[in-house]
Subunit: 391 residues, 2 copies
């Protein structure tokens, strides 16, 4: 395939025609290289995973659903190793270019999918989202991204990391296409329904860079006009959002170790240093820490539910920062990651859907405005994206 | 070069003729790929180190000394990544074959040097030794290996890991050649001097596999005949040797992080998972733990000095086990590593020289018998090796 952005994975030359007719006929899509395609190895961003894996026997449910709706698969895209990362900087395969922020990371772990969509290499793309892996690259690359309600899109045939957080993710550069993609994957019509209010999460605004908060601020009138009246002054969390991160990391890290630890022990694979560090942190999460984190998650779910009362959606920056430059030191990226997860953990902890809209720029770089809705409100968020449109 | 053992490093095609005449004329040597050779990149067993390094401007002192003595350099050999490992299983470049224990690891980190010597690809080889990196592959590959007194052979032009432990290491399949190599590097004649007694370290024997201890036991008459009367019943350490390991790891790990941490932070390099784990452990050593370890080292030095009183050398298995099979799980290797370091840490903590002699086999696999002498007794140990000869 033509790949000027290093968006497509090693062995990602995977082409499949879709059904001859269907609602997505004429559209193309790419799939993050964690989606199985029968007959091909799922590389998952790690050369030792690729080396040791057998070709997939079945095609992932989501890939099949898009093919059956008439879309054409044009390749498999780069991911952070085993989906562990939110910057898209893969130590083995390099960092896909961010077409809308050259010299800056595309965001990950669905890095290649977002870059391919932003660069016009396909109409839409499949990603996954555990702690922001679809929303972050959508924000950094200036495209639409949906993290659906936990569990509504089958994960069959997708390499899972952390099964209480993992979702399929949807990426497109056009809200109509995202919505049509959503219809195929959610198996329902997107009706033009609207929430009663749009509640700005002030604690999320405060946690963001001033330029990011200002850019979101400037976009609020469009939300008010297209979606619902804006409600100000509400805080989501009785504790700092930064405190959520340790609980997110504990649950996710421990689950990721349960998923991959035995394979790691048996094969001593190569990893970028940061990825190894993530796995090791997860391996060391104690039962006590895990229990505390699960207790916190129950409280966090309640806080999100309360904020959503009155048929509301929540408004917040997708990421509190724009994309950092490629090859930033690990210690710098660590701080930024912590800040990003303090916002992306909200929907993850609550199991709620979140959509990132490419409405804003800060310092000339894209940054997403996000709407979080109640569980099951995926269609509502897709309808809102259609109403609002692009920047 | 002809490399049937995967002993030579990527970019290891480095040939230099030695002086036309000299005591090593007619002999060939290889150098672990942590020794600089002017004009060539020192790869150090890690592809990102190799990628980011400039060609060396000067040739390492030890390489020059061998060249000046007439030996010919025939290549640079594989190492564990940045010398961090004692098995020789490099996740990027594979594991050199152990010609005397096929299917078993060669030992590391001077893995390629020991394999090349054991396989007859060169007369002798340069390694380094921090916590066993020359002695362990000598033991596993059934060749002679010398860890010299700390500081007696200049480390100029050698990639250092942990400067209070690092030494150049000498490997050869013939005790005469090892001795001549020692003369060139120690810049002194090896005279036929002998210690007054050979003290068996009973705690080291007890820490070893029964088959290893039995093999050492069977070799003691040769030591008595060639070197000095055997003294039995002496324990080296008032605490279990296993307790030494945590202190070794604390000092070595912290020093290694001080050496490489900034580079790791800036470049997020690829590492085998186990190597990343080692670095991370080192990065987390607290000042309190480090101070305690340094205090322990002072006591350990004293215990070794006391054991060496009366013009003694100490006798112990080089490794408490034979070489484990390649591709053993990481958790298994971890246990074995801990046991190995409980013996190799003795000379390292004390700064004393240790020579491993290929006198023994256990279960059909090589295992070294070691002599530790007082600091500065390198020539004495080399003379003992000549007297004892090979198995």
């Amino acid at each position: 395939m033509h790949d000027p952005l290093n968006a497509f994975a090693l062995g990602g030359d995977v082409y499949l025609n879709g059904a001859e007719t269907g609602p997505l006929a004429g559209l193309t899509f790419a799939a993050k290289d964690v989606f199985d395609v029968a007959g091909y190895v799922t590389g998952a961003g790690n050369p030792d995973w690729r080396r040791l894996a057998e070709p997939a026997r079945h095609t992932a449910w989501a890939v099949s659903a898009l093919l059956e709706s008439g879309a054409r698969l044009v390749g498999k895209t780069h991911t952070d190793e085993l989906t562990r990362g939110i910057f898209g900087d893969n130590s083995h395969y390099g960092t896909p270019d961010n077409p809308r922020a050259p010299g800056h990371v595309p965001g990950g772990s669905s890095s290649g999918s977002a870059a391919a969509v932003a660069g016009g290499l396909c109409s839409m793309a499949l990603g996954t989202d555990t702690a922001g892996s679809t929303r972050v690259p959508a924000s950094f690359c200036g495209v639409f991204g949906l993290r659906p309600t936990l569990g509504v899109i089958p994960m069959d045939g997708v390499l899972s990391q952390s099964n209480t957080f993992d979702t399929v993710g949807l990426l497109a550069d056009d809200p109509d296409i995202l919505s049509r993609m959503g219809e195929a994957l959610l198996r329902k019509k997107i009706k033009d329904v609207r929430p009663a209010q749009a509640v700005v999460l002030e604690d999320a605004m405060e946690a963001s860079d001033p330029a990011v908060a200002a850019a979101i601020e400037a976009a609020l009138p469009r939300i008010a006009e297209a979606v619902a009246p804006i409600v100000r002054g509400r805080k989501l969390s009785p504790v700092p959002l930064a405190d959520w991160v340790e609980h997110q990391n504990a649950i996710q890290g421990r689950e990721a170790w349960e998923t991959f630890g035995e394979w790691i022990n048996n094969s001593n694979p190569r990893f970028g240093f940061e990825v190894a560090d993530n796995f090791l942190r997860g391996s060391k999460v104690s039962q006590r820490t895990l229990s505390a984190a699960r207790g916190f998650r129950l409280r966090a779910k309640r806080w999100v539910q309360e904020a959503l009362e009155g048929n509301a959606v929540l408004v917040l920056p997708t990421t509190p920062v724009t994309a950092p430059p490629v090859h930033s030191p690990r210690s710098v990226m660590w701080e930024i990651r912590h800040r990003i997860v303090s916002l992306t953990t909200i929907a993850g902890m609550a199991g709620c859907p979140q959509i990132s809209l490419p409405l804003c720029k800060a310092g000339g770089l894209p940054v997403g405005l996000s709407l979080i809705g109640p569980r099951g409100s995926d269609a509502l968020l897709l309808a809102a994206a259609k109403r609002i449109g692009k920047a």
